[in-house]
Symmetry: none
Amino acid sequence: MPLDVATFNIIANAFSFAIAAFAASTIFFFFMRQHVAPAYRMALLLSGLVTFIALYHYVRIHESWHDAYAITEAGLQATAIPFNDAYRYVDWLLTVPLLLIELILVMRLPQGEGRSLMIKLGVAAAVMIILGYPGEVATDDATRWTFWVLSMIPFLYIVYTLVIGLTKAIGRQPESARGLVSAARWLTVVVWLFYPIVFLFPMLGLTGAGAELATQIGYSAADLLAKAVFGLLIAAVAYAKSRDEAGFTMGDSEQTWARREAAQ
Amino acid sequence: MPLDVATFNIIANAFSFAIAAFAASTIFFFFMRQHVAPAYRMALLLSGLVTFIALYHYVRIHESWHDAYAITEAGLQATAIPFNDAYRYVDWLLTVPLLLIELILVMRLPQGEGRSLMIKLGVAAAVMIILGYPGEVATDDATRWTFWVLSMIPFLYIVYTLVIGLTKAIGRQPESARGLVSAARWLTVVVWLFYPIVFLFPMLGLTGAGAELATQIGYSAADLLAKAVFGLLIAAVAYAKSRDEAGFTMGDSEQTWARREAAQ
């Protein structure tokens, strides 16, 4: 089934939805920094950078989608310009390591432990994305499978670290934040599973307009969950811990915080 | 080998990657100012200005690249509009002196020593870029060689100053920052070597799509390393020294800092 005007528009609207949501999330995370204790502001800064980078790439993806097709009297026609899927990989290369670093930062682990986890997870994430790309641009199934398998190795290492490796550290989080940190961890594991599955679509014979619709809507939904909703969980953790630690309440100004800290 | 659609797109994606990375870096450096002691904020301001100027020029370069070629049913066609490489020189003229000043600022040398180094290195950097440009736009190899040799003089002076001249001052840096300052210095020396080498490509007969790919990907990677990654090292130096000097910790507010300084 070739792509028709209606399906083209549904996909374009999903991209536009992502642009609006990422733009609003970015502004929210940057302002939200003032509402949490200083120790958690770096995590919120990274949340905002992640959604900002995603915003940029969804603007480019939306533009590329419109360049790749023309709506004519005869219906939808592909132009000579191919739809540029590489924007997704460039986005992930920058944002996926940052997302993992966000999670570790908001947990506020003892310095050595935190730094070591950030480096291991950040490098594994970058390697995973870099290994996925040659498979994505390959035209034969053998190359696609090879790079799928290769990039699953760092992926499984990340899942293992999140599910098993972090359990003890999550147990040490204050009670008010423990459930939220664990939710952020499980959101990541479950949503990230979507990406290697979509990668398999062409190898499983899923092509045409239906597969394109599932892929593009799926990627947009997964990106929103993994970045914007994940960022909201990180913000909730930061807020709960700030309130716990020094009676810091929503809207406290930097001055109030400094005064309270001085009084301790 | 003429440029094809795939190679055109790889280069366009490299430019887009640079845009996203420079935009995110700029936001990061400006926010990061709040997380370091006041003495190091000017260095972070300059880091952010450098990546902001690079962001602007990569938007222009991306645009010029798309104006220079058209994707048609018959493949990639050069248009009448030449790709504008001069954007790079304008960028370097502004950013290269700032990068060297950043490094000297974050070292916080005794006032006279720091100022004198900033002037010498800043002027040498500007002269180096100005001398490179007439060679870049020249059509004959003799002129290219002449200006290559001329601009190597300030280049070698800068390398000498970084490698030999700064060694004693780096030795006086606090232990927590010494390795990072030295890494920033070596990153600059190694990455900057890329530029005079690429300048030689046309004189060595390296032309066509392969050389264009190597040049543009190489320039983008070198710019990202020399500006964004270099800026991250400067931020790490500023953070380590802030923490060392007065128990300044990640996320301390400006008020906290002022109070601590007043109490000393």
